[in-house]
Symmetry: C2
């Protein structure tokens, strides 16, 4: 007898929107969704917690979609809340299935059994990582750059954050540096390098695992979420980021950047 494991249907944990052939850019949005699979009882959380930055990156998907549209780029997006599994974290990170995020305790994550951890790793993390790896492999011949899109809260411990757009890098700082050297004159937001987070906060996992390891230029963009509340705002921010990114990419393609 092989004992069956009770398990739930995780639904669509990753969604891939392919690009037209020849796209040089791949957009990734790990924290696109705050969906908790049916049967997980909302992880024991309030609606307020599930709508907050603890559960996902509000507004990030709209920006990522608009950027992918404007660049004819492929888009890989997560399909469940990062509180179920944070696809920008490796399985061994306590923050991959956190028991506490910001001011919220996550009741369902406080006493996860080995079996429950394993199920989430297999059903969410491994599916997401495999889909992203496959997308990169399929597009590799033309692909040059991976951009991951995130959003952050405007306040931290009661203080307003001055940074509006963060340009972050992992082990490979080339693209982030190239962007910071050529901020467009009309870019309307305060942009800073490695703010409000940096690789030391463990946020560069996707960049290093899928970008650096595949020889892709890569960068993570963090947008203050009060700037991307509406679809119009999301499209507007995307339309400011795209020429900046394509301009920096052109520097590499022309051989001006190292």
């Amino acid at each position: 007898m092989i004992v069956a494991t009770p398990s739930i249907d995780f639904g669509e944990v990753v969604h891939v929107r392919p690009a037209a052939a020849g796209s040089k850019v791949l957009v990734v949005c790990e924290h696109a969704s705050n969906r908790v699979p049916t049967g997980m009882r909302d992880l024991g959380l309030s609606g307020e917690a599930l709508q907050s930055h603890a559960a996902w990156d509000p507004g990030a998907l709209g920006v990522a979609e608009a950027m992918a549209d404007q660049m004819s780029a492929a888009l890989v997006q997560g399909g469940v809340s990062r509180l179920v599994y944070d696809c920008n974290r490796p399985p061994e990170a306590p923050s991959a299935m956190p028991a506490r995020v910001e001011k919220y305790g996550i009741p369902a994550n406080e006493a996860l059994s080995a079996e429950m951890r394993r199920e989430r790793v297999m059903q969410v993390y491994e599916q997401f990582a495999a889909a992203l790896a496959r997308q990169i492999k399929d597009a590799r011949a033309e692909l040059k750059l991976m951009v991951t899109i995130h959003s952050f809260n405007p306040t931290f411990h009661g203080k307003v954050r001055g940074v509006e757009v963060g340009i972050l890098h992992g082990k490979d700082n080339r693209f982030a540096s190239a962007m910071m050297e050529k901020v467009p004159g009309d870019f309307p937001f305060v942009a800073r390098l490695n703010e409000p987070y940096s690789a030391a906060d463990g946020v560069a996992y996707t960049l290093d695992l899928h970008g650096v390891a595949n020889g892709l230029l890569n960068v993570m963009i963090e947008i203050r979420n009060d700037l991307i509340r509406s679809t119009e705002q999301q499209k507007e921010v995307a339309s400011k980021l795209v020429p900046w990114i394509t301009g920096a990419l052109a520097e590499f393609e022309s051989g001006k950047a190292p």
Copy 2:
């Protein structure tokens, strides 16, 4: 510029001793070694802690080697202390790189960075898992059974444990059940099912991942470590286990067991 990660040499994290062609049995000993790689400063532990069951399964390797010899079976053994990485645990398990085991705090594991966790996962866990998977794949045509060998402390919270040999299963209980139904009349030890641990303690990871998933019969054998202190004792215990195991396997091959 791609920023290099400071890293250490983990040495031989897994050792594979192949079998003669046609071997039906694979022996695995995850906790064979208490070696801590040079540069990790003994994880901040005393020699006493590093010699204890917290760091490895004392005596288990000697039994596993003798069993492999007597059955002409292949042997896959871990090459570092389970306190560096416990190869019978998945990366997401807190016990994979534990901060505390039994009475010992593990200083070097108390504040592991994301990067340090990742390095151990890649350098130890993934190497061990890959070597074991490769061995199974290479031998799959003839292979029928995977046996993992462990040892446990004679006392627990000051009380002597009555069980001397534990027969444990994960999701597939067939082989463990078959063994418990046919304990040899001259088996000189107290044998019990799922003692002193069971799958609920998270110990069935190797069984389920490499055994069940590959369609192999599988069983985990736990031996009280006071019974396997000397090489002679280890060989003696092996010589009692081997006919029990081969007898149970014959039941499956003859079609008597399900």
